[in-house]
Symmetry: C2
Subunit: 193 residues, 2 copies
Amino acid sequence: MKEGALEAAGDEPHSKHSTSTVRRVMNRRGLSIMDFILRLLAAAGTLASAVAMATTDQTLPFFTQFLQFTAQYNDIPTFTFFVIANSIVCAYLGLSLPLSIFHIIRSAAKNTRIILLIFDTVMMALLTAGASAAAAIVYLAHNGNASANWSSFCQQFNSFCDRISGSLIGSFGGILLFILLIITLAVAISRPS
Amino acid sequence: MKEGALEAAGDEPHSKHSTSTVRRVMNRRGLSIMDFILRLLAAAGTLASAVAMATTDQTLPFFTQFLQFTAQYNDIPTFTFFVIANSIVCAYLGLSLPLSIFHIIRSAAKNTRIILLIFDTVMMALLTAGASAAAAIVYLAHNGNASANWSSFCQQFNSFCDRISGSLIGSFGGILLFILLIITLAVAISRPS
């Protein structure tokens, strides 16, 4: 500590200044690279969620003369909304990757970062809405509700329930990544250029 | 336009610079005042939502010998979560008002704005989760779901349904205000101090 202080005091003012400028640019570039990685992870998470939910269906191995028991994700409108929301967010993340790369190259850009932050915020709201609406229905599918006379169907459609529960993970992971993305962008914007 | 350009050209460099500095400070102060107003509105919206949902109950005017038909918000766990989420967000908004006033007075502050933006983002996620989970259940209460054999109960509990539907408005308004809040903060952070 003391040695470092002595060393710093020994530096010429000019070289010290240029070092801090270089460090600041490096820092902003580091934030941009982190932004890019977070975007890739979030895109993977939402894509996995959308695919896992959309490909879910189960047909029970027994049937009566007139009826076969099947469960599909689009029996419940909330799950359709979940798939649509995740797809939109995943497409948006894919489209925002070039802008993220542009920020790595030109790390001083501010206005494009603000635009990205605005869209990120809106997309986070959309993803959270889809994920938590689906979670509310999944909870109902597991536990039912005696007061409203809604019975749970997870006893019968076991693998269907496992699948829809699992597909929430990617979405909720995506929400956390979006929070980190917004913080990263805000810190990058706050750095003086 | 042309006159303004001539006027600007006629200005001395020094006075022009100080004018733009004053304008910039005014601008940042304007953003801080907008932040304060948005916070007040969002707090009012979430408070109204929490109170409207929490005070909802309906007892049907007919009953059998052993059974009286009542509906309360805490019959459904999702609505309890909705009330808790709205209360937490409302309390947070109340606590953040002093910091917002601080930003009006000291409009150059950057680090406290970033902290505020981080908390705002997390609170927006919480509010969105509560609101959209409740919306999914309200939809079910209105329409039911034939595939899952969940019947709607809005035919019987009419005023209960109206009340829970109405209480969503404040919450969704709050989400929009949060998006505006985050944008306002990001723009304020981007202004050079």
